[in-house]
């Protein structure tokens, strides 16, 4: 399958960051659906099945990203999810998904620091989509 056969759902309440992520994914060749809130993301999930989802952690709620992870995995268990956040650095809380217990709790497949390079994001997405 080509990259353009995949649709990536991106949710982030920072309009600039959202624009840049979607722009980078588009340049890499993917189709994208961009939403600015947890509520919009939920409505998209109810209508379509994306190939992969990238969620910001803090949107309307501090744990919007976790909630979305949970909901999308419940509906489409096979859709890979990336949780993107700038939180780890500041809080010292690590969201890396190493242990099995953490995986079942968070239900994201990858945790990524915001501000990663576009090529790196593309790599991670390809890995998850098994391209």
């Amino acid at each position: 399958m080509k990259k353009s056969d995949f649709t990536i759902l991106v949710a982030d309440d920072d309009p600039d960051y959202l624009f840049q992520t979607v722009n980078n994914l588009g340049r890499a060749g993917y189709k994208t659906v961009a939403v600015e809130s947890q509520a919009e993301a939920e409505s998209v999930i109810s209508k379509m099945k994306p190939s992969l989802a990238i969620f910001d952690l803090m949107m309307e709620n501090d744990d919007s990203g976790f909630i979305l992870c949970y909901k999308i995995k419940k509906k489409y268990p096979d859709v890979p999810v990336i949780l993107a956040t700038a939180v780890a650095h500041e809080t010292g809380i690590s969201f890396s998904l190493d242990s099995e217990a953490e995986k079942t709790w968070i239900r994201a497949d990858r945790y990524l620091e915001k501000g990663i390079r576009p090529e790196q994001l593309d790599q991670e997405v390809m890995k998850l989509l098994k391209i």
Binding site: D16, Y17, M58, M59, E60, V87, H89, K114
Partner: protein, 375 residues
Amino acid sequence: MPVLKVLVVDDEPGIRSGVSRILNNFRVAYPFMDEDFTFEVTEAATGEDGITIIDGDKPDIVLLDNKLPGIQGTEVLEYIRNKNYDVVVAMITSYASLDVALKAHKFGATDFVPKPFTPQELKSSIENITKQLYLRRITHKMNEEGRKVRYQFLSVLSHELKAPLNAVEGYLKMMQERQSGDRIEDYSTPIERSLQRIQWMRSLIMDLLDFTKIRLERKEEKIEEVHLKGIAKNAIVTVQPYAIQMEVSINLGLKSDVVIMADPTDMEIIFNNLVSNSVKYNKRGGKVDIVIDEDENEVLLLFADTGIGINESDKENLFSDFVRIKNEKTRNIGGSGLGLSIVKQVVDLYHGSITVESTPEVGTTFKVRLPKKFN
């Protein structure tokens, strides 16, 4: 009712049972506590037994004889000290030489009850110890909570400071890689957005400075007569360019020249924040009414707008740090989430009050009351 666990370590059975008898029916009350303390006594005949109980049962208070059959009382004390247990120790001893007393003191014994003691002597010593224990634990708890709040504040703050940097960095990379073309005009949106994010970041930093100022400054020296009309006019002038852009008209109504005893900077903080909010969260073509009024003791300030309003559920946290109401209508409005928290802190500092009334889609009114005299 809180129960404190008391361990008495003494090789004389009479002393042990005496302590049990006296303390099991004893209660300690202080005017500053909601509930009385009562006591539950366990006994140990040797230092070794005492240590086993201390490790297992974690008593709050230990009454410790020094002269024991095996290890000595001071050794038990040293053990407790090394383990860093949260326990208060009082020595009960009839052979209180200076040497023992010094050693006991060094290892953290808080009291000496010389044997033989009367029930009253024991009770007054326990009363004292209980108070110390209570205050120590309360202080500890408050410090912990303070630390947690500061930590939370800092983590949200660094998130808020990092987000605009990420955004600007992303746009600069787009330009560096010439993603949209070779001409500068191809990048007008990224440039515009970057400037906007930098401007918001700057206002966050300004808010932060206000924030630290309120917390650190000594007020008394800065109190002077402040004419609120001037402060209000300055705030209006500051926000005017934005108001013109939003087509919002600002009206200032005041009955007379209202004067308050205050730090002028604090009054600026109140006016600047509330006036700029009433423009920021207004609708195109809306209006803002500012009223300055007074009665005998108080100044009353009104900031009424015809803006987007605030939902009932969002009102609850409105004055907390970093709270921004996030919805479709506010998403393009920049803000640090600190403004109202700062205003609230200033108002509290003056023992005033701030309230909000709001109807979504109709408008919001903030009412501030401040005593005219600073105390």
